[in-house]
């Protein structure tokens, strides 16, 4: 929505999202919109118990049912690899994590409600479902272990018989610092201790997962259509580790995808199954998840229980921080599960503060629940929530102003090497807090509080900072940390003869607006109109090997590759222009789509140069090749560190415990911004999910039976429009990233990372204003929980 005088095109323009035309008019092409001639449908028979021994799975009656093509059980996958985990975490003793087998279909045992036991492929979905009901499963139910503290106890029921315990790893970070940290606590003037829960969430993208396997006997070519954030990652994991299909015989297509939020990063059993079954049945095989299946098969998020302690000296300087966390892995290790509570969490425990000594312990536990993995923010929301809650609590205990206490401890000099192994390249935390105080109208708060009191409501103001590490990150570093993949990205810029451009990118857009923002960059570099440029993504046969979209990495990493490839294009085009203009290429300037010889009026247009590249009649063939297409791979030298300050104002109804959000303000530093409107939209959506976590969402299991209590929208509360206020969002504080060519940091997760602590801090503040000395309430802050806290205070 550019205003007069604002940037109207290229970098910095709020170009409207071109992809929304097809999304909003029903013309998107989602995986479920794809139907292949002759396709069959699969229905998965899923476990209705949390833990049990499978004595037998008798499919004989079901196999004779109408329309049944073939029925598969765990026995059919014994020769096939299991679902791999993509990150090996080494524990504090130097030992590798315990890594259980993760079968495509359950074999011998079931370990969570929803685990697939058998798969029926039939001519229609209803026939597959009918037959699934005729499968006779003889199982012996075993005690389920749901609560992580129970799972950790001596003699606890084991989720995996072949592992020594339910402990995946006991991770200490930085282990060498532990003694010094403990010593600092002994000498502390004040110690604040807080035990808190980071509640388990279900991602709930609007589009449930879908997979279609297809196989051509003629050329032995497999194709998987799937709702993935990273088709090349799926091709690598499934091809190399599960099914043993060479890459040149496996194509993975992720067309329009209706939201991912992390849960569509991972390689799932259903993808492997459909690919396998398409060959076995010699028919395309399609699976579309129901919402009920999504609740019990999509990887969940968060689910940490933490004790955090902050030590301060007599002048309120933070002197040390230590934490003990139990992190739920669920029944199996999902693709990146092991990295979330460790490298994506421990490395952020310095927050925005110069705390000199930090020690983080994480015990990752197996339980009889759905696997847990990355969800928007992935580890960083958990870190931020702990830090910003314990600081608020410390401020209250010490009678300090929560803004001043934070400001006093800010990191102010960059680059800054934290005691938790990362180096912040740039930032200005005072600037974002200044901006927050302005847009949040802190000076008007007391008057608003009085207005609320006059209505019988308690008003509270909560603030927090956040910092995140995005654009993961040097491949050689993450390799040392246990990643079993590189984390670069790639782009191919293909200039067509008449000057239009197709950019093939490794990033995948599933709501982020890449198709609009990425062309703005290339258009700006060359000086042509954005409409001349299209983005191609989501098909391993069309794009270079890229790692996909997650961790707010697309622009910082893949965008940088695109810049590098475009730089190569421009360098070559200048050589062609120099030839056409009979000048030296070092004298050629490119501006507004025109190549000119410096200091002269000689020029040639972009389109004439591109045409010359493909119709090389007058062309320096002896010096350069015809054509104009370049690829670049970009591996960043560091993470990027978006940071900011958030404020939430709530009203609490003391009679019902109901919390309403009255104001929400976000001051973010994302470095340079390509499309401010898209960035604002990303922050809006992130805050909605953060508020959802803080007030509404909580995935719950029955601790005895292991049944999922929140298996539908009747019991799992998603945020709705009327749960949210109008936001004040600002990203004018910009300290550009120092190490990528665009100076960008990433904005996709900030809202979800930065918002939960301010909401909870605001509610605690409101309760105190009502005279209730409540120290903490665990999320989600439902009316019932808030009322109970008020009543027990």
């Amino acid at each position: 929505m550019p205003k007069d005088g604002e940037i109207k095109s290229g970098i910095g323009a709020s170009s409207k999202r071109r992809e929304d035309v097809r999304f909003l008019t029903g013309n998107g092409n989602y995986t479920d919109d794809i139907n292949i001639r002759g396709q069959a449908y699969v229905f998965f028979l899923r476990s209705d118990i949390a833990h049990g021994t499978l004595n037998s799975v008798d499919t004989s009656a079901a196999a004779a049912m109408p329309g049944v093509v073939q029925i598969f059980t765990g026995a059919d996958f014994e020769a096939v690899g299991g679902i791999p985990c993509g990150w090996l975490v080494t524990d504090k003793h130097g030992e590798p994590m315990q890594e259980p087998k993760h079968p495509v279909l359950a074999h011998g045992k079931v370990r969570h409600v929803g685990e697939p036991i058998a798969a029926v492929v039939a001519d229609s979905l209803e026939q597959a479902r009918d037959a699934a009901e005729a499968i006779e499963v003889d199982s012996s139910e075993l005690p389920a272990v749901i609560n992580m503290k129970d799972a950790f106890k001596e003699g606890a029921t084991k989720v995996h018989d072949d592992l020594t315990s339910n402990l995946c790893y006991d991770w200490g970070f930085v282990e060498e610092n532990k003694g010094a940290v403990d010593e600092a606590f002994k000498n502390a003037h004040h110690v604040t201790t807080l035990e808190l829960v980071n509640n388990r969430l279900v991602a709930n993208p609007m589009e449930p997962r879908v997979a279609i396997g297809d196989y051509a006997r003629s050329d032995e070519q497999h194709t998987l259509y799937t709702t993935s954030q990273n088709p090349h990652v799926i091709r690598l994991l499934m091809g190399a580790f599960v099914l043993g299909i060479p890459e040149h015989k496996l194509r993975v297509i992720s067309p329009d995808v209706g939201g991912g939020f992390g849960t569509k990063i991972f390689h799932y059993q259903e993808e492997a199954f459909c690919t396998f079954a398409a060959k076995a049945c010699n028919r395309p095989v399609k699976w579309t998840s129901s919402r009920s299946e999504a609740f019990m098969s999509d990887a969940h998020g968060r689910d940490h229980v933490t004790t955090i302690q902050l030590a301060l000296d007599k002048d309120n300087n933070f002197t040390a921080l230590r934490t003990d966390t139990l992190a739920n892995m669920g029944a199996y290790l999902s693709t990146f599960a092991s990295s979330v509570p460790t490298w994506l969490h421990g490395t952020l425990m310095a927050g925005n503060y110069k705390t000199p000594l930090i020690y983080v312990n994480v015990k990752a536990m197996f339980t009889n629940t759905v696997p847990v993995d990355a969800y928007r923010g992935a580890g960083r929301p958990e870190a931020t929530y702990q830090i910003e809650r314990v600081i608020d609590m410390a401020a209250r205990e010490l009678g300090a102003d929560p803004v001043a206490l934070r400001r006093q401890n800010y990191v102010t000099e960059f680059p800054y090497a934290t005691p938790v192994a990362v180096e912040y390249d740039t930032g200005d935390y005072h600037a974002t807090m200044d901006k927050l105080e302005e847009i949040g109208d802190f000076t008007g708060f007391e008057a608003r509080r009085k207005e609320s009191e006059a209505k019988g409501k308690w008003r509270g103001l909560g603030i927090n900072n956040y910092i995140e590490a995005c654009g993961i990150a040097p491949s050689n570093l993450v390799g040392q940390l246990g990643a079993r993949a590189g984390l670069y990205d790639a782009a191919t810029v293909r200039v067509n003869a008449t000057g239009s451009i197709s950019v093939m990118v490794g990033a995948h857009s599933h709501g982020q607006g890449h198709e609009t923002a990425f062309p703005q960059v290339v258009a700006d570099m060359i000086g042509i109109d954005e409409s001349q440029i299209d983005i191609v993504h989501g098909d391993t046969s069309k794009i270079p090997f890229g790692m996909g979209t997650y961790g707010s990495r697309s622009l910082a990493v893949c965008g940088s590759a695109m810049v590098r490839a475009t730089e190569k294009i421009i360098a070559k085009a200048k050589k062609i222009a120099a030839h056409l203009l009979e000048a030296s290429d070092t004298d050629i300037e490119l501006k507004d789509g025109m190549f000119s010889v410096a200091g002269t009026d000689k020029s040639v247009a972009w389109g004439d140069v591109t045409l010359a590249a493909y119709v090389p009649h007058n062309y320096p063939l002896e010096e350069i090749e015809p054509g104009l297409e370049e690829t670049a791979f970009y591996d960043p030298s560091n993470f990027t560190y978006p940071a900011g300050a958030y404020a939430c104002e709530v009203e609490v109804d003391p009679d019902t415990g109901k919390v309403t959000i009255e104001r929400f303000s976000a001051a973010d530093d994302f470095g340079n911004v390509i499309n401010p409107m898209i960035v604002s939209g990303q922050v809006h959506g992130g805050i909605a999910q953060g508020v959802g976590q803080a007030l509404l969402e909580g995935c719950s299991y029955d601790e005895e039976s292991g049944q999922l209590l929140t298996g539908s929208y009747m019991d799992y509360a998603m945020p709705r429009a009327d749960d949210l206020p109008f936001y004040s969002v600002d990203h004018s504080c910009q300290t550009p990233c120092t190490h990528n060519p665009l100076g960008v940091k990433g904005c996709g997760e900030a809202g979800a990372i930065g918002s939960p602590p301010s909401v909870v801090n605001a509610v605690i503040d409101a309760l105190h204003s009502g005279g209730k000395e409540v120290a903490h309430i665990d999320m989600p802050l439902t009316p019932d929980r808030v009322w109970n806290a008020i009543n027990n205070a």
Binding site: E133, L695, Y713
Partner: protein, 262 residues
Amino acid sequence: MYNFEFEKPSSIADAVAALGGDEAQALGGGQTLIPTLKQRLASPTTLVSLSNIPEMQGICTGDDGALCIGGSTTHGAVASGAGAYLGLAALAGHIGDPAVRNRGTIGGSLANNDPSACYPAAALASGATLVTNTREIAADDYFLGMFETALEEGEIVTEVRFPIPEVSHYEKFVQPASRFALVGVMVAKFADGVRVAITGASEEGVFRWAEAEAALSANFSSDALDGLTLDADNMIGDLHGSKEYRAHLCGVIAKRAVAKAA
């Protein structure tokens, strides 16, 4: 869902005949039944739709002044057409979302008697009469517990007759996920006394709060409810609210209903 036969009769008599078949099930607006079928939790042989029966549609005023609403009238139609009973129209206008209100029917809701549904509170607080194909049932005799009513097998709610109170209000405190009533209180003040019905809270379904009715009949103001409490033992306790919380909310929400009654 499993396969079933589908019938769409155009008279009550034909509907009753169709429901006499083996494993036949009446289909109102389908807001509960269709999801149940999709989950394969029910397997009727025949579904008998009640949506095409003119004598079960619409709103009129009876000879005794009661508001008469056909059993197949949608929530949306009640919201826009029950202006003679504003408290009822407002209640109907806040059930579910527009899609639900354009499909769901008053007869279907009352026949299902979900413990968190809104209409049972209106029927009970109004002292409504439920007219079926065979008889008339007073609301006080109709609601027998969670999902249980006085209806016999194959019996259809063809009309609901609401005496119109002097003032009334339905106040709903929603369960955050489903947005059904965590506690919903309907207050209706008639010339001969006040009736208070509460939905969402009790394990026995919708109920009248006798002490509140007596207090409000003597003094129709929210202050009259001060000090009145309900026993938490029979309340629903779940993820969304403890028994004690629901018992407490009944008082808070009842007061708000009285304060807003007009």
